[in-house]
């Protein structure tokens, strides 16, 4: 008996937490101190918000260090931290902190953001909404996939990786556990939002599936 896959979408509302940074050191202190929702906003959500432009820094942190502080080496290194490789915000935060500490040890980072160009720490508040879509087999999964919003795709493919008990993502886990399609599940799990836009990812998943009968 297959447990149906219910589709959700997540909508986010940013909240200013009253903390800002003007230097690399202050940014590091902030990254250490803010709650996980802030790290999530500046990494995952940044990627989602600007996913149409692939050749760009991959987080708010990297973008700010690049464009405002002109610390190109640190920007490159922060850009290389791919949020979707981490299964917890804790691990992602530790990597960001590690990269910045190492850079601060080796470099004299005195640059201060000019004017009102400080980095403002924002928390992501997500509201998850059930859509009317639900799949019980591969054909219905395919049909739902065509109709889902970008926010919904993002939620199931990337945000879901942080849910307790999730092995890869919502889609891969369901295809593998419920339909026994381990190979398709594995291919979907390897899709990287650093390399493709979410529309491209939708097209690729549709392309991976056997054609409709």
């Amino acid at each position: 008996m297959v447990t149906p896959l219910n589709f959700y979408t997540s909508i986010k509302l940013p909240e200013y937490v009253g903390r800002k940074a003007g230097t690399v050191e202050e940014l590091l202190e902030g990254i250490r101190a803010v709650d996980g929702s802030c790290i999530f906003h500046h990494t995952y959500h940044f990627l989602y918000q600007t996913q149409y432009a692939l050749a760009q820094p991959k987080s708010d942190f990297a973008y700010w260090v690049d464009v405002i502080l002109h610390d190109f080496e640190l920007a490159e290194r922060l850009s290389a931290v791919n949020p979707v490789e981490f299964s917890t915000i804790r691990a992602l935060r530790e990597r960001l902190v590690g990269v910045m500490e190492e850079h601060l040890r080796a470099n004299d980072c005195r640059a201060r953001a000019p004017g009102n160009m400080d980095f403002y720490f924002i928390r992501a508040n997500s509201v998850v909404v059930r859509t009317p879509y639900s799949a019980c087999d591969l054909p219905s999964f395919r049909e739902c996939l065509k109709k889902l919003s970008i926010g919904s795709l993002y939620h199931h493919l990337f945000e879901s990786r942080m849910k307790p008990g999730i092995k890869a993502n919502d889609f891969s886990d369901w295809l593998s556990d419920q339909l026994g399609l381990a190979s398709l599940a594995e291919q979907i799990a390897r899709l990287d939002p650093f390399l493709f836009t979410l529309e491209e990812i939708r097209g690729r998943i549709l392309g991976m599936m056997p054609p409709a009968a």
Binding site: Y16, Y52, Q56, I89, S126, R130, G151, E159
Partner: protein, 421 residues
């Protein structure tokens, strides 16, 4: 003209419209009361005029009330508006009394019976009191830049604002510690309005030619009030330096400045500068010239917004939406919209404008990429439908106190709340 949600589907996608409808389903019948200080003119009235009917279409019982007050009250609130944005003004006891008397009068007149009451800007902020609070959630929507306020006025206002359940700012840069949660909801543009809707090439050409602009040669345009903060003389200097090597034209288009002595003086100085150069077009247009502004932006090769101080910068949003490469000052809300070298170009000097204008004139493919990214950035983040969606989410958050997902250090928390919201 009033539009329905379905009218926006070809622009933002049916999925985005569905997302709004799914969200609104759980809010059907909820009473939302918006209160502001004017029903016409100004960005707040413009946005409420469009948002409230869309909210109603989703099944929400949304309404909009305007506070009343005498001349003395509006003089106080004008002073308050300027002081909260940094102007040095003394707050007298008489001003406080005038402000509070108008609040009392409006409390009696306006039905503040919403499940959620949205109070816009400082003018009606004092409507929240123990007698009006009821069981409603109260949201203070601040549309102005509070980053550097006159503290006398801010302390007075903060006493009221801190009692709200949430505050909303257009950018974190404009936020101030309100003593309550501060959400960020940027403003938006309406892609179906006369100022932003698609125009055909013929309409654009006609407007350019009407103003003596040659559509076959590059056009640099800045659309803004004739205000020194928009640095029109910096734009003029940049144009003159570029003009030495490139056959460009300059358009400086803005509104009439009848009630603004400084604006009138800036305009007359610019007109004097334009006399000796037929390729400088200083256009003073009526406030209703939306289609003309639309055509001027669409007919431009590059759009400039060389502000040295800026609010959110909706003229930048408009230009980005039209797929234009934009060169803009790295100030205010512009930095939320223009991601340097991705959705446009950020500059800090006349030199920057000159350099990047030459780059874009010589590399039209780069200009096109910026324009394409800019339009997509606006499509995803700064259109009316996103604004509506954010308000719906805010209503949920104001009523429940938390989102359905709270990313924690080790996992997503409160995931089971998904059904609850």
């Amino acid at each position: 003209m009033e539009h329905t949600l379905a009218d926006y589907a070809p622009i933002v996608g049916m999925e985005a419209i569905q997302e709004i409808r799914f969200r609104a389903e759980k809010l059907e019948g909820i009473r939302l009361r918006h209160v502001n200080s004017t029903s016409v003119g100004g960005g707040v009235a413009e946005i409420l005029n469009r948002l409230v009917p869309l909210m109603r279409e989703t099944g929400i019982d949304a309404s909009w009330e305007v506070i009343r007050g005498g001349e003395a009250f509006f003089e106080v609130t004008k002073a308050m508006h300027n002081a909260l944005q940094g102007k040095s003004i003394e707050l007298s006891e008489e001003m406080k009394r005038t402000y509070l008397a108008a609040q009392e009068e409006n409390m009696r007149r306006i039905p503040l019976d919403g499940d959620v009451n949205f109070i816009h800007d400082p003018q009606p902020a004092g409507l929240l009191s123990p007698s009006t609070r009821g069981g409603a959630k109260w949201v203070w929507r601040c549309h102005i830049d509070l980053s550097n306020p006159n503290m006398q006025f801010w302390d007075f206002l903060r006493a009221y604002v801190s009692g709200y359940d949430a505050a909303v700012f257009s950018s974190p840069k404009f936020a101030k510690d309100t003593g309550t949660r501060s959400f960020i909801i940027p403003p938006s543009i309406d892609p179906l309005s006369d100022k932003n809707r698609e125009l055909d090439a013929e309409q654009v050409r006609r407007v350019l030619e009407k103003h003596g602009i040659d559509p076959s040669r590059p056009v640099l345009t800045q659309v803004s009030r004739f205000d020194l903060f928009k640095d029109p003389f910096g734009v003029l200097e940049a144009y003159r330096r570029i003009r030495k090597e490139y056959d460009v034209q300059l358009v400086l288009a803005g509104g009439e400045a009848t009630d603004d002595p400084e604006g009138a003086s800036v305009l007359s100085r610019l007109c004097a500068e334009a006399v000796s150069d037929p390729d400088i077009h200083v256009l003073c247009l009526p406030a209703t010239a939306h289609l003309e502004i639309n055509a001027l932006q669409r007919g431009s090769t590059i759009v400039l917004q060389k502000s040295i101080k800026e609010g959110f910068g909706l003229t930048v949003t408009e230009a980005l939406w039209k797929g234009k490469p934009v060169i803009a000052g790295a100030v205010g809300g512009i930095t939320l919209q223009v991601k340097h070298r991705i959705t446009g170009i950020l500059v800090n000097s006349v030199d920057g404008v000159v350099h990047y204008t030459k780059v874009l004139l010589n590399h039209p493919e780069f200009a096109e990429t910026l324009g394409r990214n800019g339009r997509e950035h606006v499509r995803q983040n700064f259109l009316l439908t996103r604004h509506l969606r954010d308000y719906l989410v805010l209503v949920v958050l104001a009523r429940t106190g938390a989102g359905g997902i709270i990313p924690l250090d080790d996992a997503i928390g409160a995931i089971d709340a998904r059904e609850a919201v």
